[in-house]
């Protein structure tokens, strides 16, 4: 029996950082040192702290080696010899205290988290069903089939307070109950893994790291609502998730957890994977069902019956998100009361967020509902890197809103985030710093949703284009002050005049940036200045005369010959000729740092 386990993350993120090569090298070294009998190398999903990938963990000690390279493999293998010592230089260093931290449990990124759905991600091999069984996998299914009626299962999910984690936050138990109540012998369970929100990757991580938890949740759901067939709708951009889920389904079938007679209980259920083909709007439930039926994924017109009543092929269909299904086994195993004891009054359990953007610790985290934004961004996320200042956080992707510093005390739950003008959404959390222009950011989000509009609703299709054109004009310096109110009016109209969540939320980034950063819009329009020094039409490049060493580099490289000066003669940029291409800034030697960007176009030439 192995006495030590070397855990090596093999998520998409880890693999692209070289984890496959490291694994091969490690296995080779371990065999060479004759350690194969006592050391086991295990491939797992990603542990979430992407910033320090690839990570190697040695159990049972719990040692964590960060940013491991292939060349480190021999030393890691030697450290596993009986007389071997931990490798200090590979320990994670806390960016604040600069102390080396040997154990993963002591790292601040982890110790404020509460990992339920992600508990097994990074511990078990997602391609080995026995690993899942060893941590209690499929026990919930056994319990459900042997001890509970479908009604009791639904009652447990209701009592747990679990809310749909795809964004809407609709109580899961009520949805299950509604689907159960609709008469019909042909029903479907669909797992929405069409995670398209920019800045969210939790569904991918769960499917790559613990696919059986989703499979188990779906089977239980099938039993509860009376369905015999399940589909997982995965996006085309996630090939590894599709592969691992496929393995999990095949293994589950082999062991009798899926098939015509699940665990000999007489209940039949099977799951099929369906790959999307790249359309953001398919995350909407009616669009997703149409896409599954092989049609254009366009949300159905209003009024529409619920998918629970008339869904796939006109049959009652239960549609839940990956994380919702992954929570089910915990509710069954540990009890609805245990689940309901976590989180806040109206938002139970945990929330998973993808931390990205201008944040020190990028990665995937799971936290109890009710934790504040400040704790997430500054304690777990480590704040903004490079000595820059935090400016705002965007939650809920392109459907959500931007929240400023003043609202960092907001607790994370469905209702508080909505009240603040944002939303939980798919769990993306994009942090921006002082170098990000809020008008430009809003424009960028809107550009995304506008292109993804399916085009059915005039206001979504055309209103979003009009809003984008106004934002373009503002960032180019051609905005008018009345444009701000016009954007609000248009935004509200697009929300009212759209039939699905895409159009109803597309204006949110614009509306929330106006709400909290109106002065930035006004600077662009009235002063013709971009305070964050981003919008090309509203900034100037200057050469600071007492830093310029007259080295002639920028002068020669300027593509429009806008820089005047000579040897021993301080250089000056002719603002009329300058196209703000930024070449001078990129070529000015770092030790001089003479080229700077300043907001606004009306500049006096420094000299």
């Amino acid at each position: 029996m192995p006495v030590r386990t070397v855990l090596l993350g093999q998520g998409t993120c880890c693999i692209s950082a070289g984890a496959k090569q490291i694994s091969a090298a490690l296995r080779e070294e371990i065999a060479r040192l004759d350690l194969a009998g006592t050391v086991q190398v295990k491939h797992t999903g990603c542990r979430g702290f992407s910033q320090i990938d690839p990570v190697v963990i040695i159990e049972p000690e719990g040692l964590l080696y960060s940013e491991v390279k292939v060349d480190d493999a021999p030393e890691i293998a030697r450290s596993l010899l009986p007389q071997g010592q931990p490798i200090e230089r590979l320990f994670y260093r806390d960016p604040v205290t600069d102390r080396a931290i040997p154990h993963h449990r002591d790292i601040t990124f982890y110790n404020k988290q509460q990992r339920t759905v992600l508990k097994n991600c990074g511990y078990i091999d997602p391609e080995e069903i026995d690993d899942y069984l060893a941590v209690g996998g499929y026990q919930a299914l056994r319990k459900v089939l042997s001890e509970m009626t479908p009604e009791q299962v639904i009652e447990a999910v209701k009592r747990s307070g679990l809310r749909g984690l795809g964004g809407g936050g609709f109580p899961a138990g009520r949805k299950w109950e509604a689907c159960r109540r609709v008469p019909g012998d042909e029903k479907y369970v669909v797992c929405n893994a069409d995670e398209g929100d920019p800045g969210a990757f939790q569904d991918r991580s769960v499917l790559e790291g613990d696919p059986h938890s989703v499979v188990e949740g779906m089977i239980i759901a099938g039993y509860a609502v009376g369905a015999t067939k399940g589909y997982v709708y995965v996006r085309a951009e996630y090939p590894l998730a599709v592969k691992r889920l496929g393995i999990a389904i095949a293994e589950a079938r082999e062991r009798g957890f899926l098939g015509e007679n699940v665990l000999g209980n007489g209940f039949g259920f099977d799951i099929e994977i369906f790959q999307g083909a790249g359309a953001f709007v398919c995350g909407e439930s009616t669009a997703l069902t149409l896409s599954l039926e092989g049609a254009r994924g366009m949300p159905k017109p209003l009024p529409r019956p619920r998918t629970t009543e008339v869904g796939l092929w006109g049959r009652p269909t239960l549609l839940n998100n990956v994380k919702t299904f992954a929570n089910i086994r915990w509710i069954i195993n540990k009890g609805a009361e245990w689940f309901a004891s976590q989180g806040t009054e109206k938002s139970k359990g945990t929330a998973i967020f993808s931390l990205t953007g201008k944040i020190t610790n990028c990665g995937l985290i799971e936290v109890p509902m009710g934790i504040t934004l400040r704790e997430i961004i500054f304690d777990i996320g480590g704040g903004v890197p490079g000595g820059r200042t935090f400016k705002a956080v965007q939650t809920g992707g392109p459907s959500g809103g931007v929240l400023p510093e003043g609202l960092l005390g907001t607790p994370i739950d469905f209702d508080s985030l909505t009240a603040a003008g944002s939303m939980m959404g798919s769990g993306g959390m994009v942090v921006v710093d002082e170098d990000t222009c809020m008008v430009d950011l809003a424009r960028y989000f809107l550009d995304f949703t506008q292109k993804e509009s399916c085009g059915q609703c005039s206001l979504c299709r055309l209103g979003s284009v009009q809003m984008l054109e106004i934002l373009n004009a503002i960032t180019e310096g051609n905005g008018r002050i009345e444009d701000i109110d016009l954007l609000i009016e248009l935004g509200e109209s697009v929300k009212i005049g759209s039939i699905c969540g895409l159009g109803q939320s597309a204006p949110n980034p614009v509306l929330s940036t106006i709400r909290y950063f109106r002065e930035e819009y006004e600077s662009h329009i009235l002063e013709k200045k971009c305070p964050a020094r981003v919008c090309k039409g509203l900034i100037s490049y200057i050469i600071v005369s007492d830093k310029c060493k007259a080295c002639m580099i920028c002068l020669r490289k300027c593509p429009v010959e806008a820089i005047k000066g000579g040897k021993k003669e301080v250089h000056v940029i002719d603002q009329d000729k300058c196209t703000r291409c930024g070449v001078c800034l990129s070529v000015c030697p770092e030790r001089f740092g003479a080229v700077e960007i300043i907001p606004g176009r009306e500049v006096k030439i420094h000299g």
């Binding site: 998409t12 993120c13 693999i15 692209s16 950082a17 992407s50 910033q51 398209g196 920019p198 800045g199 969210a200 990757f201 991918r204 085309a236 951009e237 996630y238 090939p239 369906f274 790959q275 999307g276 083909a277 790249g278 359309a279 069902t289 149409l290 896409s291 599954l292 039926e293 092989g294 049609a295 254009r296 994924g297 159905k300 017109p301 529409r304 019956p305 008339v310 796939l312 092929w313 006109g314 993808s354 931390l355 990205t356 953007g357 201008k358 990028c362 990665g363 995937l364 965007q394 392109p398 993306g428 994009v430 921006v432 990000t436 950011l441 960028y444 989000f445 995304f448 993804e452 399916c454």
Partner: protein, 148 residues
């Protein structure tokens, strides 16, 4: 299309195969030709315009021939915040085409895509089904050289 209680759904269950078959054809031929779409329509008992409608709705399908290697650079916000514009410009310079185009020698097609879910390693791109992360202009030249 059919309606029950005013609700739209596809009655033809065979049609579910359409997305799968379109995907297979795209993988095999690199794009969806008129001939392929007509054949699919006939075998699934659908109208040609319905097949065309589906083929042009999804961004992973293409009705024009594609290069041997398809580059998809993420254009979403987390990558944008980590200077994906510079990466896009570098690729444009290296292979001499703009997003949406294919090189004359048929080696590369270049597209901008929505989030590919590795925002924690931005900026990122995919070439075929391979993901590349933490991109820098220097890395781009090396990665492109490795593709024939």
């Amino acid at each position: 299309m059919n309606k029950i209680n005013g609700e739209i759904y596809m009655q033809n269950k065979e049609q579910k195969e359409l997305l799968v078959r379109l995907g297979e054809a795209q993988n095999k031929f690199g794009y969806l030709s008129e001939k392929v779409m007509i054949e699919l329509a006939e075998s699934l008992d659908m109208s040609i315009s319905d097949v065309y409608g589906v083929a042009t709705f999804y961004s992973f399908f293409s009705i024009r021939p594609q290069g041997r290697n398809i580059i998809r650079i993420c254009k979403s916000v987390p990558c944008f915040l980590k200077n994906s514009q510079v990466i896009i410009e570098t690729v444009e310079k290296e292979i001499g085409i703009k997003p949406g185009e294919t090189t004359p020698n048929g080696k590369f097609s270049f597209h901008l895509t929505n989030c590919i879910g590795v925002c924690d390693k931005a900026p990122a791109m995919m070439i075929n089904s391979e993901v590349y992360i933490d991109l820098t202009p220097n890395k781009i030249s090396q990665i492109l050289k490795a593709h024939k």
